[in-house]
Amino acid sequence: MSTDKSKTNKTNIIEISKLNKWYGDFHALKNIDLEVKEGEIIVVCGPSGSGKSTLIRCVNFLEKFQEGTVVVSGTELTDDAQKIRKIRSEVAMVFQHFNLFPHLTIVDNLTLAPIWVHNETKQEAREKALKLLDRVGIRDQAEKYPNQLSGGQQQRVAIARSLCTSPKIMLFDEPTSALDPEMISEVLDVMVELAKEGITMICVTHEMGFAKKVANRIIFMDEGQIVEENDPDKFFNNAESNRLKMFLSQILTH
């Protein structure tokens, strides 16, 4: 499949090895090894509490970890604040609850990082922001405040905000879980568009339709470890582990 092609001629943009994380005594991530190539689309799924959010939050160091290494585009994650900021300017994240800044207008939400982190002028940041809002289809809401928008619109703003700094990698942490059913597709449409453009994406999501359509690889996690990892075709039709078979049967029956 296409995954093999991309694996051979692209370099690893994320390398995670022997990653272990504990919350107190609770072993949240167990010996995770994962390599992601440039431009790959990876979907992470699994039951709640399986550590999938924790895993992607380790990639931009929102979660600290106790053992193992995470290398993002050639920089190893350590406590060094400079390095963390550098990585965060290349890795963008979209949250389950959008986390827009309620005291700023939509367009100010977008221009914040370009102006303060990337030293762009207000003018160019604003132009770029409006272009991105146009792309996610809410340019006419630019001067409103987040609370005046619907959930789906807010999530599209959040995606536009994370694109504002031209990131190499996008992390999605259950971007559609907090949305009403009729708003899910408008957000997924935007994500599919992004996937086509070749940006590296790791999505924690339960939208299996989305996974089938765009993922290069799907990772199934349970109890803090990667149980199975495969291309979508084999993942859905030829699951090897019993745990995955059970999970699939539970989420696909409805």
């Binding site: 931009n60 929102l62 604040a81 900021r85 965060r88 300017s89 963008a92 994240m93 949250f95 609850h97 986390n99 827009l100 800044f101 309620p102 005291h103 914040l112 990082a113 303060w116 982190v117 405040y145 987040p146 609370n147 005046q148 905000r161 994370s162 700094t165």
Partner: protein
């Protein structure tokens, strides 16, 4: 299966509205409420008529002739003296006679235009702030006003810098001194309070420990103690053997540190109300610690805290009256001072009532004003 017709929208039924209903639901809804209402009315009946008698009907308003902006207003032939005022009612000519003391203390009469300009500027500031709401550079305007206003006021009141004759702080008094202590206390302590609040939430242990210790120590000690310490202990550290550190300055340092601890707790309450997601989003887009707090966390936390910040400021305003203990002559201290004047012996009641009214008017307007401000600047929850 059933199909339903679309229902028309109607206005709510006009129920029983009116004064009688209001009385019945609010004052006489149960027998307990009725008893409480009756008791309250009885106490009001006991208190209000004598008070009105004292303040107005039996009071003396013989001010003589007052020049009011160029117009002569004649109240009586001559101004009443203490003895011909009588003892049944208030002697308001006493207040009129001592109004200068109550307002400026011993500030030289030739220089009163300076504090007057400061009073005017203060009023202007309160008018301007709500007006700039929709102005593009409102933050810049407000910030620069907050920086410029104290400097201009200081130069005007204190003089010096080769511009104006110096008026030493021991001459400041009355309402002027009350306003100086309160506004300096609030303006200086606020940034310190914010820093302490952030410090208390810091991940750096030493900073957290220091902030917590400071806040908890100061909050557990009465203001009077701190004023005494500032007045008598601080000089030992600043200039041993020399008592020349300005008395007012010492009090101001004490009050600012005291108030900073209270502001810190108020702001911490606001900080705790900010969802974790806001911090994470700010981190994820790569903002530094400073940017995260200045651009994302504090603007939201301070907005939430406005009512408590104002409440705390009002408390401080009232607490400034304690400075009379260390010999500063604020508005309240003037009551004792002016009634020690042999001509006006025994007029303390008028003095205290007057100070009460002035304080109430200022503080009540302050609280109404802040409520207005809060509604005006509340943008995020409007639909």
């Amino acid at each position: 299966m059933s199909v339903y017709d679309q229902q028309a929208t109607r206005k709510p039924p006009i129920s029983q509205i009116g004064a009688i209903l209001w009385l019945r639901t609010n004052l006489f809804s149960s027998w307990i409420n009725t008893v409480l209402t009756a008791t309250s009315l009885y106490f009001l009946y006991l208190m209000i008529p004598p008070l009105l008698d004292w303040m107005f009907f039996n009071a003396s308003f013989s001010f003589g002739t007052i020049n009011f902006f160029g117009f002569d207003i004649k109240f009586s032939e001559e101004m009443a003296t203490n003895s011909n005022c009588g003892r049944v009612g208030a002697c308001w000519p006493y207040i009129y006679e001592k109004l200068y003391m109550y307002t400026y203390g011993f500030y030289p009469r030739t220089e009163t235009w300076r504090p007057n300009i400061v009073f005017g500027l203060t009023a202007l500031l309160f008018v301007i702030i709500p007006l700039v709401k929709n102005y593009k550079y409102k933050n810049r305007v407000i910030l620069s006003l907050i920086v410029i206003y104290p400097i201009v006021s200081y130069v005007l009141i204190s003089g010096g810098f080769g511009l104006l004759p110096v008026v030493e702080t021991h001459l400041w008094g009355g309402l002027l001194l009350t306003l100086v202590i309160a506004s300096v206390g609030i303006i200086v302590s606020f940034p310190i309070g914010v820093v302490l609040a952030l410090g208390r939430q810091s991940e750096l242990r030493v900073i957290k420990l220091f902030s917590t210790l400071f806040i908890e120590f100061v909050r557990a000690v009465p203001l009077i103690t701190i004023l005494f310490m500032a007045s008598f202990v601080l000089p030992l550290f600043l200039e041993p053997g020399n008592n020349s550190v300005d008395k007012l300055l010492r009090a101001l340092i004490g009050i600012a540190l005291f108030q900073a601890a209270y502001f810190a707790e108020v702001v911490r309450g606001g900080l705790q109300a900010i969802p974790r997601g806001q911090y994470e989003a700010a981190d994820a887009i790569g903002l530094s610690y400073f940017q995260k707090n200045a651009l994302i966390v504090l603007p939201q936390a301070l907005k939430i805290s406005i009512p408590n910040i104002v409440g705390s400021s009002i408390s401080l305003f009232k607490d400034t009256t304690l400075v009379l203990i260390i010999g500063l002559l604020d508005m309240l201290a003037m009551v004792g001072l002016t009634t020690a004047d042999p001509y006006w012996l025994g007029r303390e009641t008028e003095g205290y009532v007057f100070v009460t009214i002035v304080m109430w008017v200022m503080l009540y307007s302050m609280s109404r004003y802040s409520r207005k401000l809060e509604l005006r600047f509340n943008t995020e929850n409007t639909n």
